[in-house]
C-alpha cells in the first residue's frame, strides 16, 4: 500500500516511515510543510495519507486544512490525521463529508505500533478511526441526552468501541463476549436510537458519530 506522510519533525517523520516500511507499506513521499501536502497527494494519489495537524509555515492547523482540501479535490482519499491534542471541533470537520476513510488520532497512539498500523489499515480500507479520547468526550457530552439515556451500560460501552472504529470481532474480544452478543447489542442500540439496521459498518459508525455530534 502506498502512503504519503506529512510531518515537520524529522525524527518523527523517519520514525513513521520506518514503522510503515516495516509493516509492508510503501512511503512514496514524506513532506515537511503544509504547502507541499496537496501537490504530493495529487501527484501520487496514495492509498492512504498520514498527516500531522500542525505544520510549517504557520504552525497552526495547516495539516488539517490540507486534509480538508484534499478530501474535496480527491473525494474519498483515505486520510489519517495525527495530532498532539484532540479537538471535537476537528473531528467534526474531518467527518463532515462522510466520505469514509478518515482517522483522527493522538500522536501518542503511534507508540503502540500494532494499534497504529491497524488504524492506518482500517482508514485505507475506507473505515473510520477516532481517538478514544474524542469518543469519551463525545459520550460524556451526551450522557444527559434523552435517547442515549435509554442505553444500558454495556450498550454504551459497545457504542463507544464502535465509535472508535472497531469491528464486531474486536469488540467481542475486548468485552469477552461472543460476536453474536455484540451484534445483538448493536441492533438494540440502533433500534433505541431510531436508526434502521444496515450492512455497512462504516456507515453505521458514521451515523452514530453524527448523532453523538448533535
Amino acid at each position: 500500500m502506498r502512503v504519503v506522510i506529512a510531518e515537520d519533525l524529522a525524527l518523527l517523520r523517519d520514525g513513521l516511515t520506518r514503522i510503515l516500511d516495516a509493516y509492508g507499506f510503501k512511503v512514496v513521499e514524506a513532506v515537511a510543510d503544509g504547502p507541499s501536502v496537496l501537490p504530493a497527494l495529487t501527484r501520487h494519489r496514495p492509498d492512504v495519507a498520514v498527516l500531522d495537524v500542525r505544520l510549517p509555515p504557520t504552525f497552526t492547523d495547516e495539516g488539517l486544512q490540507a486534509a480538508l482540501a484534499a478530501r474535496t479535490q480527491l473525494p474519498g482519499l483515505p486520510i489519517l490525521v495525527l495530532s498532539q491534542h484532540v479537538e471535537q471541533l476537528y473531528a467534526r470537520e474531518l467527518l463532515a463529508d462522510r466520505g469514509g476513510g478518515v482517522g483522527y488520532l493522538l500522536k501518542d497512539r503511534v507508540s503502540n505500533v500494532g494499534q497504529f498500523i491497524d488504524a492506518v489499515r482500517r482508514v485505507a480500507d475506507g473505515g473510520m478511526v477516532m481517538d478514544p479520547e474524542v469518543v469519551s468526550q463525545l459520550l460524556a457530552r451526551n450522557t444527559g441526552a434523552q435517547r442515549l439515556g435509554d442505553l444500558t451500560a454495556r450498550e454504551r460501552e459497545v457504542l463507544g468501541l464502535m465509535a472508535e472504529g472497531r469491528s464486531n470481532a474486536a469488540i467481542a474480544g475486548r468485552l469477552f463476549v461472543t460476536e453474536k452478543a455484540v451484534s445483538k447489542h448493536i441492533n438494540n442500540i440502533f433500534s433505541k436510537l431510531g436508526m434502521p439496521p444496515s450492512d455497512d459498518d462504516n456507515r453505521r459508525v458514521l451515523a452514530v458519530l453524527a448523532y453523538l455530534n448533535g
Binding site: Q65, L89, R141
Partner: protein, 434 residues
Amino acid sequence: MDSSVRAVVRQQIRPGALAAVQGLAVALLSLTTNAVLFALSVVSLALIPVFGIGFALFPAVTVLVRLSLRLQRRLSRWCGLPIATPYRPVPADAQLGTWKRFRWVVGDSATWRDFAWLIPGAFTGGACLFGFVLVAYGLEGVLFVPLVLYLNVDWYGYGLFWPMDNILKALLSAPQGWLILFGGLAVAPWLVWLHFRFAGFFLTPTRAQELALRVRHLAATRADTIDTQAAELRRIERDLHDGAQARLVALRMSIGLAEQLLADDPAAAQRLLTEAQEASGHALAELRHLVRGIYPPVLAERGLDGAVQALALAVPLPVDVDVRLPGSPPAAVESAAYFAVAEALTNVTKHSGAARAWIRLRHHDGSLTMVVGDDGHGGATPDAGTGLAGVRRRLAAFDGTMSVTSPPGGPTVVTMELPCELSSRRTSPSSGTG
C-alpha cells in the same frame, strides 16, 4: 390615538415626574445634610487648636461628608451626569483620631473642594424642590380644585384667584393647574440636571486627581498581574517537576532495568517495557494538559472564534455559540478572553444545574464583550469561590471588567468586557487551503 398618548406619557410626563421625585430627594438631602455638615466642618476646623479634639473630629466629619456626597454621586447617575470619586485611598495604618489620618484628610484637595461645595450645593439642591412643588401644586389644581368646587367651599382659592368666589374663576382654575403641572414637569429635569452639573464642577476629580487615580489603579492591577503570573509560573514548575519530569525519571529507570534483564529474564524485561510505555503515555497526557493551561493549541490554530467553539463542544451540555468578530484581538487579550469564557463555562457545568447555555462575543467601540449565560438556578456571586474572582483579576490586568447577574432561580448571565483593538481577520478555516 392610544399609542400617541402613550408616547407623550413616555417622552414627556414620565421623565418629568421622575425628575420631580428625584428633585425632592436631592433637595431633602442637600437642605438637611449640607448645612449641618458645613457647620460641623467649621466647628471641627475651629477646634484644631484645641489639641486632640479637632484632629480627631475633622477626619470624622470628613467621613460623614463623604458618605453624604457618595449619595449625591449615586443620584447624579440618574440624570446621566456620573461624578467619579476623587479621593485618595486611606493609608492602611491610619486609625481614626491619629495624626496620619488627619494628614491624609487635610492633604487631599478633594476634601477642600467638597467643603467648598457644601453651601452652594445646598442652594442648587434646594432649588430642585421648586420642580416638585410646581408639579404638586399643578396636580392640586387639576385634581383637588374640582373637588373643592363640588363641595362648594368658598373660602378656598387657587393660583391667581383667591378666594375662588365665582364660577368663571373656578373654571379658569383647571387650565391654570394644567399649565403649572406641565411647567413643573418641564422644569424639574432641568433643575436636577443643573444641580448635578454644578456639583460636577466641585466634585469631579480634577485632571491631576484623575491621573493619580489612574496610576493607582494601574499599580494595583499590575501588582495583581505580576502576582498571578508568578503563581502561574510556580504552578507550571511544580506540575512539571512533580508530574512529567518524575514520570520520565521513572521511565528511564524502567527502561534501564529492562535493558539489564533482557538477557536473563526476557519476560520480566517485556513487562517493564510495557510499563514504561504506559508511563510515557501518562507523561505525554500530563504535558498536553499543561500546554493547554499555558496557551491552548486550538487558540493558536483557530483564534478566539474557533477556540470558543471548541470549548462549547467540550462542555457536557448544549451551548449556543454566537461569535461575530471582524478581526482578532492581540494574542494576550485573546488568551485572557479565552480563559475568562472557559472559567465562566466551567462554572455553568459545575454549579448552575443548567440544561442549556449560550455564549456571545462581539466587538463594539474598542471593547470586546463576552457574554456567557445559562438557564440554571442562579445564585452565582463573583465574591464567593475563586473562579469568577480569578476571572475578574485576569480581566483587570487588561482594564477589563466583569459583571454577574444571577438572581435566585436564574438565569445567570456573566458579562465580561475587554478594551482592545482588533487586527485584520485571520485566514478562516473554510478559505484556507494549507
